[in-house]
Symmetry: C2
C-alpha cells in the first residue's frame, strides 16, 4: 500500500454511483485539514443511583442466578480451552457446560477492577470507566444507515468514516465505538482493517475492535499496537471488544476466542448478554435479570481466569418484545425497570455497568424515536451506567444508524452531562443577593446574580428550538429531524482530522496492505 | 334555555366557516350515543422516590425559604380579607406583605390532608391524590390548538369539547382538566359556563373550575352543585382550582379571591408558583426552589386559615430559559433536577405534590417534543408527583394543545402506569419453570410460562411502531405524529357520552341560560 490515504483505496476498490461522490470530495478537503484534538467533557455522576428493588427482592434474584449457574450451568461451545481454564479454576465442567457453585463465579470476578482507565490516542480522550464515571459511545452494528437526503440504504465505508468523524467532533461522546455501522461495500473478512484504521486515523477516542474471528481480533490489536506500542498496551486499555453471550445461558467459541485474545493483550472487554424477554429468556423481568446476571458473571469469570485483572464492563442488553407480534421493543417500562435492577447488581459485584442507550424501534427520527430513546437513556444513567453503548444514532432496533438521530442523541448526551452534575447548593446558588437586589415585581433578568451565572447556569441546547411560533414558522417550520440534517452536514464540513505522525500512519497502511493481499475476499 | 344541547347554542351563537362543520355532525351523532362510563386505571407508585439532595442540602434550601418568608415576606395584593385572615392567625403583616416566622407557614399548612379523595361524577372516576397515588390531567390554558389537518389556529369551543371527550376516553387520564384550551369563540366572561358544562356533560372525571373572577369561580361551583349537591360537596372534593402565585413572592387578589371561594365550598386547590429562572426568580435552581417553596407554603397557609382541612396540592411550575434569547425552555436538566427536589420538599411537609407533565417548547409533535416531554414527565413521577397537570397535549410551552401530541402523551401515560408498578419478584416471575422446561438453545416463546404471562407481562403500546421496516414502509412510512392523527379521529368517532339524568341536565342548561342573559358579553 502506498502513501495514498486508506479511504482512497476503498474508493478505488468499490464502484460507487457518481451521485455518491461527496465522500471523495470530502476526503480531498480533509487532506488539507489537520486540526487540534477536539475537547471532550467527562461525565461524572453527582447524583445517587435509583434503586427500585429492596434487599430481599435483590437477594431473590441473586439466588435465582446462583441456581442457574449451579444447576443449569453456562454452555461454552466450540472452545475446549475456555472449559479447561474454568476447570483448572475449580469450576465443575459437565460436557460443554460450566457449573459454578453458589458464589464461585462472583469470587472469580473479584480480580476485575471496579474502575479502569481507557486510553484514547490523545490526552484529551482518556477516561475513567466505573464508579461515578461514565463513557458514552455511539451505536454499534447497524447494516443500514439513513439520512433525510438519501433515505435508508446499506451502510458503506464512507458512512462508517462519517460516523467516526461525527463521534470525534462531539464533546459529549467519549468513545469512537466499534462497528458503528457495517461497511457492506468491503468484504466481510477485511472490514475490520478499514474500521480499525478509521477509528485510529480519524479519531483519537478509545474504540472497539473486531470479534467476529480470531484473526480479525488479532489484526485489530496489532493495528492498535502500531499506534500505542505493545508494551504500553499490555498494561493499558486502549481498546475494547464487545463480547455477546449466545443467550440463553451460553457463549459460542467465536466470542470466547476473541475474549481470550483481547484479555491476553491487556485490552478491555464488555461482556453483554443480549436477551429479548420471551425469546432468549423468560418473559418475566425478574427471571430475565437473573439470567443476564448469570451469563455476565460466567463471561467475566472466564475473562479473569484468562488474565486476572482484565478490565471488564458488566454488560447487558435486556429488552422486551411486542407480545402480539414478537417484534423487539425498546425503552419500554419493563426494560427500564430491568435496567435499574442491573444497576443494583453491578454495584453488588462492584463492577462497571453497561446499561441504557438511545434505543428505539422507530424507523425514523420522530417523536417515537425520542420518546423511547429518552426513557431508556435516562434510565441507563439513573441505573448508574458507566458505559453506555448505542448512545447516538440508533434507529429501528439497531438495524439503522441515522445521521439525524445521531446529532439529536448528541444533544441529549450534552443535557445529561449537565443532569449528572446535580445541583450545587451553596450561599451563592441559594441566591440571597439576587433576592435582595431585585425589587418586588421586577424581573430577575438584569440583576447582578443573573449576569454572573448567565453563561453557565443552564445547558445551552442548540438543536432544541425554543423560539416563538412566528420565528419558527418564518424559519421554515423545521422539525428537529430537519434541523438535525443541517447540523450533521455542518459538522462533517467542519471536521478536521487529528494529527498522526507520518511514520505511524505509514506502518498502519503497510499492515493493512499486507493483510489485505494475504487473503482472498470473503463475505462471511 | 330549551332542551336543545348546550353546544347547539354555541354553534348558533358563533358563526363558523362551513368547512369546520365536523363539530356539528359529531354532535348529532353524539346525541344518539350515550354509553357506559369508560373505565380508568389507578396510578399507584410501587417504586421509591428519587431523592437527589442530601439532608444538609435540603436544610439549606429550607432555611433559605424561611429567610424569604420571614425577611422578604409574601405580598397579597388587592385582597384585604386574606391579609386580615393571616393576621388573625398570627402572621406579621406589613403593608400588603405577610411575614411568616421560621416554621410558621409550615405549621399553618399542617391542617391540609396528606391525601385526599377526588370524586368524579361516576364511581369509576374517583381517585386518591397524595401518598403513593397519582392522578394525571390534560394540558391547561392553551389559546391555540393544532392538528395535522388544520395546522395551528385559535381554539374554539368545539376543540374544547373534543379534548374533554378525548381525556374522558383515555384509561390513563384520571381528570378532565380545567381550561384544557381557551374557547376563544366564546366571550371571556361566559367561557367558564361552557367549559364547566362540557366537563360535567361530556365526562365523568373530576375537573377544574374557573379562577379568573370571583363570579366565575362561584358559577363553576354552583354548576357542580347542581350535579353533586351542595351538602355532598361541602365535605367532598369534586373539583379543583389552579391558583397560580404571581411570582416572584406574591399572590394577586383575583387568585386569592378564587382560592377563598373554592376553599369555603369544600373544594380542592392546586397552589402553583409559576417561575421561569432568570425572569420571575433567580437563575440558579437552589434559589428558585427555595422561592417556589416559600410561595407555595404561603398560599397553602392561606387556604388553611380560610378553611382548615381544605384539600390542597403543593404545586410548582419551575422551568428554565434559553439564556441567549430569554425564551422559556422545558424538560431541561436543570428543571428536572429542581422537580426532584420539589418532591423531597413535598414529603418534608407531607402534602400531595404537583410536578412534571409532558412539557415541551417544540412547535410540532416531533422528536424534540417527545424528548423534552419524556424527560419532564418521567422526572415528575420519579419525584413522587401526585398530581400531574399538562400530562397530555402540550406543545409550544403550553400555547398550543395538539391533537396528535395529546394521544402520543396518552401512550406514554399508559407506559408509566406500568412503570409505576415496579417489578413483582416472586417464585413465578423468577421463572424457574420456564428455565426448566426450555431446552438449551431453544426459544422461550412457546413455553408454558411465557404463555401464562403472555397477555400481561408487558404494557401493549398501540401507537409505538415495532414492526419491520418493510411492513412500516408498506403502510406508508407514517411517523408517530401521522399515526396519532388517525388515533384521535377514531377516538372521537368512538366517543359515547356518559349518562346524565335529564332533570340534572335541564337544571344545568337553565343555570347557564340565566347566567348568560344576566350579563353582556365581555372579552376581558
Amino acid at each position: 500500500m502506498h502513501r495514498e490515504s486508506h479511504t482512497d483505496h476503498a474508493t478505488d476498490m468499490h464502484v460507487r454511483p457518481k451521485k455518491r461522490c461527496r465522500g471523495g470530495r470530502s476526503q480531498r478537503i480533509e487532506k488539507r485539514q489537520q486540526g487540534k484534538v477536539v475537547a471532550c467533557q467527562t461525565l461524572k455522576r453527582n447524583l445517587p443511583e435509583y434503586d427500585v428493588l429492596n434487599e430481599y427482592q435483590l437477594n431473590d434474584i441473586k439466588n435465582q442466578t446462583n441456581w442457574l449457574l449451579e444447576q443449569h450451568g453456562i454452555a461454552f461451545t466450540d472452545d475446549e480451552e475456555s472449559l479447561a481454564l474454568l476447570d483448572a479454576a475449580g469450576v465443575t465442567i459437565k460436557g460443554n457446560r460450566a457449573h459454578f457453585e453458589a458464589g464461585q463465579a462472583q469470587a472469580l470476578c473479584r480480580t476485575a477492577p471496579a474502575e479502569f482507565y481507557l486510553y484514547g490516542r490523545a490526552n484529551e480522550h482518556q477516561f475513567t470507566v466505573g464508579g461515578k464515571h461514565t463513557v458514552l459511545t455511539p451505536g454499534y452494528g447497524s447494516p443500514f444507515v439513513s439520512s433525510l437526503d438519501q433515505g435508508r440504504h446499506y451502510a458503506t465505508l464512507i458512512d462508517f468514516e462519517n460516523f467516526v468523524k461525527l463521534a470525534y467532533m462531539s464533546p459529549y461522546l467519549h468513545h469512537s465505538g466499534g462497528t458503528v455501522c457495517e461497511p457492506v461495500d468491503i468484504p466481510v473478512n477485511k472490514r475490520h482493517l478499514y474500521m480499525v484504521y478509521a477509528h485510529l486515523r480519524y479519531s483519537t477516542k478509545p474504540f472497539m475492535g473486531s470479534v467476529t474471528a480470531p484473526d480479525r481480533a488479532q489484526d485489530s490489536i496489532d493495528m492498535a499496537r502500531i499506534v500505542f506500542g505493545e508494551t504500553f498496551m499490555y498494561e493499558h486499555c486502549v481498546m475494547q471488544a464487545n463480547i455477546n453471550a449466545n443467550s440463553p445461558l451460553a457463549y459460542d467459541g467465536t466470542m470466547t476466542e476473541a475474549l481470550k485474545i483481547y484479555a491476553r493483550a491487556g485490552q478491555g472487554l464488555v461482556i453483554s448478554p443480549f436477551i429479548i424477554g420471551g425469546a432468549m429468556g423468560p418473559v418475566t423481568m425478574p427471571a430475565l435479570i437473573a439470567q443476564a446476571h448469570a451469563e455476565a458473571l460466567a463471561g467475566i469469570a472466564l475473562s479473569q481466569v484468562v488474565r486476572p485483572g482484565t478490565s471488564v464492563v458488566y454488560g447487558n442488553f435486556l429488552t422486551t418484545m411486542n407480545l402480539k407480534t414478537g417484534a423487539p421493543t425498546f425503552g419500554t417500562p419493563e426494560a427500564n425497570l430491568a435496567a435499574l435492577v442491573m444497576g443494583q447488581l453491578s454495584r453488588d459485584i462492584n463492577l462497571p455497568l453497561r446499561c441504557g442507550g438511545h434505543l428505539t424501534a422507530s424507523k425514523c427520527a420522530d417523536a417515537q424515536a425520542m420518546q423511547e430513546s429518552t426513557s431508556s437513556m435516562l434510565t441507563g444513567l439513573q441505573a448508574g451506567g458507566n458505559y453506555i453503548l448505542h448512545a447516538a444514532g440508533w434507529l429501528e432496533g439497531g438495524l439503522t444508524m441515522s445521521y439525524e438521530k445521531f446529532v439529536m442523541d448528541l444533544e441529549q448526551c450534552g443535557m445529561l452531562h449537565r443532569y449528572y452534575q446535580g445541583l450545587d447548593v451553596n450561599t451563592d446558588t441559594l441566591g440571597t443577593s439576587a433576592f435582595m437586589e431585585t425589587a418586588e415585581g421586577s424581573s430577575y433578568l438584569a440583576c447582578d446574580h443573573t449576569l454572573q451565572h448567565f453563561e453557565h447556569a443552564n445547558y445551552q441546547a442548540d438543536l432544541s428550538d425554543s423560539q416563538s411560533y412566528e420565528a419558527w414558522a418564518l424559519g421554515g417550520s423545521l422539525t428537529m429531524e430537519q434541523r438535525a440534517n443541517q447540523v450533521w452536514k455542518q459538522m462533517l464540513k467542519d471536521y478536521q482530522r487529528p494529527p498522526m505522525p507520518d511514520n505511524i500512519h505509514n506502518q498502519l497502511l503497510s499492515f493493512i496492505h499486507e493483510r489485505r493481499v494475504s487473503m482472498p475476499d470473503q463475505n462471511y
